[in-house]
């Protein structure tokens, strides 16, 4: 397994040597850590950075040694191959290999071959053709590797949305189709800051204090959501059926909407759509919350055993205020209810700082 990592690393250095002026370097802030990316191939560089524009950190090179190094090259643009072996079919699952000690992980799909040295915090890999990146590669580049890196830093990821008002965040959790994106987008359109509608890095500070960190400025939406939010239609990038049944939207590029990198988590809300005119918020028991979250959340986090994810999620649910939000027909009520909830949860110290 380390041989795959070393092979890709050598090939990247070959690409670097052959195309020294084609390298784009960028720093990104993930959960307060700096990731430095070197990207060879202009299309690759432009597409890789697109979901991360809200996470750009201080000018490149000013940060001390980065916490994560990312080296990627475009095989077609550079003419430097990763190897000549056959690639998985476009419809196949990724081929994942791990060393016995878990230090090196490689992940190969039709258009990408990425290796991760967890001890060195170095991701290196090839994109076969930057012009043919899949919807997931465009919207969530290096998804598995970033989540694993953060997990290694004791910052696990939860499958949930996150919006914030004046730095105070509300996590939005639940199974697919429960209304997470509806709640997230309604709030963002009403002036909340957007951090995520699907994956949030969760950092614990002890005593029930958590910070939620944004990972991507993109969103993958069902067509039904686009009908509910017509303003998004013009910005939606349709997927290629049958595998890509959602549309990709770069929320970080939508006019008038703002994103945050991080927010204090003040509550977790569980949407459910009801046949009523009014939207209302009420307390959810811890048992109700965990049963609602666990089945969908735990399967969405790569490289985590079920037992481990279950205990992490349970700890979080036990420590954070939890609520149902019964979503009625009037979507404009959603942000008002969420704002009212935040107001009731804020500490006196936080009020006095505004």
């Amino acid at each position: 397994m380390p041989e795959i990592y070393h092979r890709l690393d050598r090939a990247f250095r070959d690409a670097l040597q052959q195309h020294p002026t084609s390298v784009v370097t960028a720093d990104y802030n993930f959960a307060g850590k700096t990731a430095r990316a070197r990207l060879i191939g202009s299309t690759l560089a432009q597409r890789f950075g697109r979901p991360f524009t809200h996470l750009g950190s201080s000018p490149v090179g000013t940060a001390a040694t980065p916490d994560l190094r990312i080296d990627l090259w475009d095989e077609t643009a550079t003419g430097v191959p990763s190897d000549g072996a056959a690639r998985p079919d476009a419809h196949a699952h990724a081929v994942v290999k791990a060393s016995a000690d878990g230090r090196w992980i490689s992940r190969r799909k039709a258009n990408t071959w990425i290796a991760f040295d967890r001890h060195a915090a170095h991701v290196v890999g090839a994109v076969a053709d930057g012009e043919r990146m899949s919807q997931i590669e465009l919207g969530r580049p290096l998804h598995s590797q970033l989540l694993l890196w953060l997990k290694d830093l004791d910052i696990p990821t939860v499958h949930a949305g996150l919006v914030a008002l004046r730095g105070q965040g509300v996590l939005i959790g639940g199974p697919g189709g429960s209304g997470k994106s509806t709640v997230s987008l309604s709030c963002v359109q009403a002036g909340f800051r957007y951090l995520s509608d699907d994956y949030v890095a969760l950092e614990s500070h002890g005593a029930g204090r958590y910070t939620g960190h944004s990972l991507y400025g993109s969103s993958h939406l069902d067509p039904s959501h686009l009908r509910r939010f017509p303003a998004l239609l013009a910005h939606a990038i349709p997927g290629k059926p049958p595998l890509e049944d959602k549309s990709l939207i770069f929320v970080n590029e939508l006019p008038g909407l703002q994103l945050d990198q991080s927010a204090n988590i003040r509550a977790l809300i569980l949407p459910r759509v009801v046949n009523a005119s009014m939207t209302c918020v009420r307390r959810a028991s811890k048992v109700e919350t965990l049963v609602r979250l666990a089945p969908s959340s735990l399967l969405m986090i790569p490289f985590t055993t079920f037992a481990e994810g279950f205990q992490q999620l349970s700890r979080f649910v036990n420590e954070i205020p939890t609520f149902w939000i019964d979503v009625g027909h009037d979507l404009a009520e959603i942000p008002r209810q969420v704002a009212d909830l935040l107001a009731t949860l804020r500490s006196p110290e936080e009020w006095s700082r505004d």
Binding site: H93, A94, V95, V96, K97, A98, G102, I105, R107, I136, R140, H143, S144, H159, S285, K286, V287, L290, V291, A294, P295, L298, L299, M300, I301, P302, F303, T304, T305, F306, A307, E308, F310, Q311, S314, V317, N318
Partner: protein, 138 residues
């Protein structure tokens, strides 16, 4: 009544208002209320159902008879769902086990313990973090 012990393939977590159990073989989730959680906590190789019922009367406002009946019904449910299995080396019924009595200030209100099975089982449970057969979430 014979003693039982927790099934080794069940993982669980205690929450402030009960517990959630997951049977790793069947993939089903279950939830317990606070009384059910107390019984679940007391289930181990050394406790028989009589001693569990006795412990409930110390913590909850409940008669011996009602505690015994509720415990038996609840444990039957756990057994039916294979969340517990017969224990080996169980103590003789009626013999108190060597366990410190919990300190109880005022008995809490008693409700029949509930075991709720949730409809949708998990179809795939990863036991190894780098399972190559697991379709990683995109």
């Amino acid at each position: 009544m014979a003693a039982v012990t927790k099934h080794p393939e069940v993982i669980y977590t205690e929450l402030e208002d009960g517990a959630v159990l997951l049977h790793m073989q069947s993939g089903f989730y279950y939830s317990l209320d606070s009384v059910g959680l107390e019984i679940w906590r007391l289930i181990d190789g050394g406790e028989n159902l009589e001693s569990i019922a006795r412990a409930l009367t110390k913590q909850f406002d409940v008669t011996d008879e009602r505690a015994r009946a509720a415990t038996a019904t609840f444990v039957e449910g756990l057994t039916r769902e294979q969340l517990v299995v017969p224990a080996e080396g169980a103590s003789v019924p009626g013999t108190p086990t060597d366990r410190a009595e919990p300190v109880v200030t005022a008995p809490k209100a008693f409700t029949e313990p509930a075991l709720v099975k949730h409809d949708e089982p998990l179809h795939q449970i990863s036991l190894h973090p780098f399972d190559p057969q697991l379709p990683l979430a995109e």
